[in-house]
Amino acid sequence: MAAATSTFKPMDHVHGDPLEIPELACGAMAGSKPYVAAPGQQEALGFPGELVENWQEKAINRLGELVDNSRALRVFLDSCVKCGACTDKCHYFLGTGDPKNMPVARQDLLRKVYRRYFTWSGKYVPWLVGAQDLTKDVLDDWYSHFHQCSQCRRCSVYCPYGIDTAEISMAARDIMDTVGLGQKYSNEIIGKVFNIGNNLGLPAKALKATLAGLEEDVEEETGVPVRFPLDEKGADILLVTPSADFFASPHMEGLIGYAKVMHEAGVSWTFSSYASEAANFGMFVGSQENMQKVAQRIHKAAEELGVKRLVFGECGHAWRVAYSFLDTLAGPFDFLDQNYPIPQHICEFTNDLIDQGKLRFDKSRNDAIRLTFHDSCNVARASRMGDKPGGQFEIPRAILRATCNHFYDMAADTIHEHTLCCGGGGGLLTDELMDVRLKGAQPRMRALQQVAEDHGVTHMAAICAICKAQFSKVLPQYGFDMESIVSVHQMVSNAIILTGSIQEQDYEAARLSVLQEV
């Protein structure tokens, strides 16, 4: 596997300026390629099983269609002036030094083909404008380097024309799928959503058993019968969350947090086994058709369960699709209660309750934790929370400050809209890409190392299933504890005082003794 053959030693790279610009290392990452999707995985999504014979012609046609149907793509392919402002903005470039991981160079892999077949200058003077025929080598380069882009949009923040390499990567992946060259990881997962209802492939029976187990655990811990309802018709709220929340750690600890908040808020709510996935890998592969099909499952589940509100759990790109695209792709949602945001983020939900004074926390329960927060790309740069721009930065932090006494931000140029990707987003969270994942995480790991040294930070919270999974893999490689990545609602879960709980007795006793001392 790629990870085993790499000579990269993360521990040698964890100290230093997170944004340090590496020397160019041409061809360094040319060998990084994800596994190719099998014919069955391709066909389930409506793509050819394997590379078609006339792939070149088909690819060019598809590029033409995409450009005709996306103003962004057309404007981005035309407008780049090669100013170089984005060249040092991609974490994969910072971590690998491969110049093809500079955003503009990544775009150029597609742009040179666009120029060749769709612009006057590229047709007649290709050498002058860097236009190139679509050859097998170019296709190989695409497959490698468009799978070294996590579609994090960091480059688009800095480009004077807002050129978003994520859009270019999505288009390139769509073209590759269209000619039969798909990525196994993403396409297999989309297939599982269509067949079973979620990325992991958890059948309803497994979901039910898992949730029942959690009910037992929480009751044992708190003495309160907190429910984890599934497919309950007539509930007020449908909670859609990434399926990793039903499976992995620290995701599941966050899920417990959602349930405790819902319980304490006294609302009726439910999960859906049909829409048991918030994530939408249709976006990663750039296929609007597949993204729409996945999104429509949520509409259908909400309608069938007869809920009034729609809330999303902690998942970065899922929140982008939910916040920015859901209404367009699967709307209108006129059957929901229009007095609440459609959809609402679980952090907005919890924060509203905190603001209204409806939740009580014993922050000292998190005293062993000195915390920082990792802004997830798609939440930071492609969506919002609350009613002000930048609410997506403030609201999760407000929750963390309400639940933990020790909170420290990482360096200003590595958070908020400048945040650095975890290194595993955009469909790259697969083992064979571990080398590029490790290297791409380097800038974030350095920023974390800095707060660890400056403020003794021990843990980092995130609101994205991919970030959590990626960090639990790469943190140990960079010398941190595997469990130093936590869910935001895990912090909530640790500190919340449920009415009638065992913790409430301790909490009240402690408060009383403080009062008596005064």
Partner: protein
């Protein structure tokens, strides 16, 4: 002969520029933007978007956040270019408006600033490995063209003066289809020839960033997808209803 050749080139150049740019703008405007993709945090309202666009176009806000050197040189070049263009309007307007008369001295200084900015940008393109890597022949040629236009212009202002009254006569003549002779100073001919070339290249080159920036969805969309249902493409909408 000379006058005819230049007159015809400028008519051609003007047609290509207007037609080419018009077509491109029409293409941008008529291509659907299926989804909401503003780079956030983004303004929530259309007036907020207008303000964001103003900051981008006038101050190069994103570039400023990205890289101070590129911003400095790029901004100097563009602002100087704007002044220089303003200054040149006097060749097309009779009488010359008061404001243009005021701009004159700044316009002359701007000529130097423009060339200096361009040379600094070019130096970065040659010296910084990352930027050298992404530069192709057309990027260097474009800079060469602009520098040559600037230097030939400055030469006429400060070294080899030309009969600017006659030049103005020539351009007014072009506008009113009443051709007047063009002075045959070599520097002037080089200057005008290159400008005509620039006009022709414009709609086929990266200079399309000028209209492009206004159409960039990551910058010109409001962040209001929860407040108003966004429908950007008939195709997606049709599929949404079907389901």
């Amino acid at each position: 002969m000379l006058t005819t050749a230049f007159a015809l080139s400028f008519y051609t150049a003007a047609l290509v520029l207007a037609g080419g740019l018009g077509y491109r703008i029409w293409l941008y405007a008529s291509t659907p933007a299926p989804l909401k993709i503003p780079t956030t945090p983004a303004p929530l309202t259309h007036s907020g978007v207008a303000a964001r666009m103003f900051r981008e176009v006038v101050f190069f806000q994103s570039l400023f956040n990205a890289n101070k050197w590129i911003w400095l040189f790029g901004w100097i070049f563009h602002m100087a270019l704007a002044l220089v263009v303003l200054r040149h309007l006097r060749y097309f307007l009779q009488p010359v408006p008061e404001i243009l008369v005021l701009v004159q001295p700044f316009g002359e200084l701007a000529g130097f600033a423009m060339v200096a900015g361009l040379i600094a940008l070019w130096a970065r393109r040659l010296i910084v490995p990352r930027i050298r890597y992404i530069s192709g022949p057309s990027d260097h040629l474009m800079l060469a063209l602009l520098v040559a236009i600037g230097i030939s212009g400055l030469t006429m202002t400060y070294v080899a003066h030309t009969d600017i009254v006659a030049v103005k006569g020539f351009f007014l003549g072009l506008m009113y289809f009443n051709w007047q002779p063009l002075p045959s100073d070599p520097v002037l001919l080089v200057h005008l020839g290159l400008v005509a070339a620039l006009m022709i290249i414009f709609p086929f080159s990266k200079l399309l960033h000028a209209p492009g920036v206004f159409f960039s969805p990551t910058r010109n969309q409001a962040d209001d997808s929860r407040e108003h249902r966004y429908v950007g493409s008939a195709r997606l909408e049709a599929m949404s209803r079907k389901a």
